[in-house]
Symmetry: D5
Subunit: 91 residues, 10 copies
C-alpha cells in the first residue's frame, strides 16, 4: 500500500555538531537501506526547508509506523501521513 | 487495515425536503450494509454537529476510497482519513 | 458515556533515557489497567506520529478528566476531547 | 453533565424576511422552553456576532445532540461542543 | 459586565514540584477569593486539558485585566477574552 | 469602555448595484451618526480590503452589540471584537 | 524540474450530471495525455477525498502553470504547488 | 513606499464567458496602465493558482487602496497587503 | 502614514526578575518618548493578554520598522502590522 | 526561474551577543554575495518583524535549496517558497 509522508525536521540549533552529524549519518544510512528494500520508493527535499516529501510502499500502517518511528531523527520530526489510493486517470 | 474517518456533512439548507430525505435514506441503507459486511465497525455522531467519527476495517486505501466515494452523501461531505496502526499498549 | 480522545505526546528529545523509559512503563501499566476496567475500550496509534486516538467509556466528563490527568505522560500531552452521541445509522 | 456550546448562526442574507422571522420566532420559543426545563442554564450573546455561548446541563451527549439538532436554526449553525468537568478551585 | 475567559495553562514539565505546588496553591487561593467577591461566578475545567472556561462579572475591561494579570499562573497562561452581551432569548 | 472592532464586509458580487448602493448609503449615514454621538471615535480602512478597523467607546458590550447589529451591512459582515484596557505605558 | 502538486476538486453538487461527466471525461483525457508526454509522472488519489497528489516534471513554473490552468476542472480546483529539490539521501 | 500585495481571484465558475472575458480584459488594461505609471513595478503569477504576487510603489496606503479597489476584479479578490521596509543587507 | 500594530510579548517565565524589570522599565521609557514625539498616538492593552494594540503615525514603513525594532522588548515580541487608509465614512 | 521566498528569523533572545553578531555579519556577507551574483534580485524587510520577503532568480529548485540552506541563519529560519510564473498582464 502507498502512503504519502511529509516529514519536517526540527533539530535544536544548539545541538553539538558531533551529535547532529551522528544523527544525520545514521538517518541517511537507514533511509537508504529502506529505499533499497523497495519500501521508500520516492524521496524529495522540500525546497527551502529541512523537510522532505516521501512515498512509502509498505504492507500496511503497522509496517509504516515501525519504519518511521525507528528513524534516528524521528524524535525531532513532525510527520504527516496520507493514505493513497489508485487514481482512475493514472496510466 | 483500520482507518479513522471523520465525515462532516454540509447539505444546503434550501435543498428540497424530498431530495434530502431520499439522500439520507439511501445513505443510511448503504451505511448499514457496509456495517453488516464488517467493514465499518464503529460509527458515532459528533455531538452538536452533522458529522460522524468512524472506524473502517478494509483491505487497503483503494477499498476505503471505493466505499466512501460511493456514499450518497459523499458530494456533500468533507472527509478526513487517518491511517491507524496497532498501539503497543492496547490489550 | 463515550468520548473520542486524541492524545499527542511531546517528550523533550533530550530527556534522559531512564526518565523517558520510566514514564513510558508507568504510562503503559496505567493505560492497560484502565482498559481492563472497561473504561478505555479502543486505543490506536496514529501512523507516523507519537500520538493515539482513543475511545473512553466513562460515567461523565469528571471521570474522564480524572483518568486522563492522572496519566504519567499527561504533562507532555496535548489532549483533544470530543463528546460522542449514538449515530442513527449505527447498527 | 455540563457542556459548553458555542453556536454561530449563518443565515443567508437573501432569505425572505418572513422565513427568517419565522425561524427566529420558533428558535426563541424552543430555546426558552429548554431553558425553562433547566437544561440550558446559561445563554449569552457574543458581542458583535450572530453567535452565542451557552451552557447545557443534560444527562449525556445523546440528550445534548437531540436538543441541539432539533433547534429550528440548527441547519444554519456551526456548533462547537466542549465537555466540562468540575474545577478543583471552584467554590 | 460579563466576560467569557478561556485560560490554558502551560507549566514547564520540568518545573520543580515545590515551585509548581506553590504556584498552584496561591492560584487556587486567589481564584477562590475572586469567586467569593462575586467577580468570577463560573469556573469549569475543560475535560482532558490543563485549561478552564470562566465567566467574569466585573466593572469593565480594566478590572478584568487587573484581576487576570495578577493571577500567579498568569505568566504561564494563554488567555482569550470574549465580551458577552445579553441574549434576547435568555430568560 | 473601549472596544477594538474589526469588520470585514462580504457583499455578493452579483448584488444589484441599486441594492448595494442603498445599503452603503444607509451604512455610511448610520456610521457617521454613531461617530457624531462620540461612540465610534476611530474608523480606518484596511488597505486592500473591504474591511475596517474601528474603536468604539460605549457603556458596555450590550450597547456595542446593539450598535453593531443595527448596521445595514451587519448581515454581510464578519465582526471581531476585542476588549481594550488602559495600557500602563500610555500617556 | 519536479513539482509536488496537490489538487482538491470542488464541483458544485447540483451541477447537471451531463456537464459534470463532460468535464470529467475531458479532464481524464487531458491528464492522460500529459502523463503520456512524461510531464505528470505520478498521480494518486487522496483516500476519502475528491483530491489528488501529483508529481509534475516540467521545464519550469511557466510550463507547470500552463498545464495546470488548461485542465478542464481547473476553475473548480484548489491547487497547491511545492517546488522539489533532490534529497541528499535519495538513491 | 513599497507594498507587497498578494491577490487571489475567485471568479464563480458559472459566470457567463462574456462577462468573465470583459472583466479580465478591463483588468488587464488597468493593470498595465498602473504598471506603465510606475506604480506596480512587479507582477508575478503564483504557479497553479489564479493568483498573483505584486509589488506596488505608491505614495502611501491611501493611494494603494484607491488603486486596488478600482480594479475590475476587486470584488472577486482576496487581497493581503504587507508593508515593506528597506532591508539592511540589500545592495 | 498610519499603521495598526498588534504586539504580543512572550517573556520567558523564568527570566530573572531584575532582567525583566529592566527590560520593562526601558520599554516604558522608550514607548512614552515615541508617544510624546507624536508617532505612537494610540496604545491599548488587550484585556487578559500581555499584548497591546497600537496606532503609529510615521513617515513610512522604514520609520515604523526602525522604531519597532529598537524597542527593548522587540526580541520577545510577535508584531503584526496593518497599513491603514482613510475610511470614506470617517468624519 | 523565479521563486518568491519568505524568511522568518527566530534567534533565541538569550543567544550571546557575540554569537548573534557573528551570525548576522556572515549572513549579510553571504546575502550580498548572492545578490551581486544576480541570484537574489529583490530583498525587502517585512515592517515590524525579523523577516524578509525575497525574490530569487536561479536555475531550479536544487540551486535555490543549495543557496538557502547554506545561509548562516538557515537553522534559525522558517522559510516558505512559492514558485512564480510569468503573469499574462505583466509588461
Amino acid at each position: 500500500m502507498l502512503f504519502h509522508v511529509a516529514m519536517e525536521v526540527r533539530l535544536p540549533p544548539d545541538m553539538p555538531a558531533d551529535q547532529a552529524n551522528d544523527l544525520k549519518t545514521r538517518e541517511k544510512a537507514m533511509a537508504q537501506e529502506i529505499q533499497r528494500a523497495g519500501k521508500w520508493p520516492q524521496l524529495w527535499r522540500v525546497a527551502g526547508r529541512y523537510a522532505n516529501i516521501s512515498i512509502f510502499d509498505v504492507a500496511d500502517a503497522d509496517e509504516l509506523h515501525t519504519l518511521l518511528s525507528a528513524l534516528p531523527l524521528f524524535p525531532y520530526m513532525d510527520v504527516r501521513v496520507t493514505a493513497l489510493a489508485r487514481h482512475p486517470s493514472a496510466i
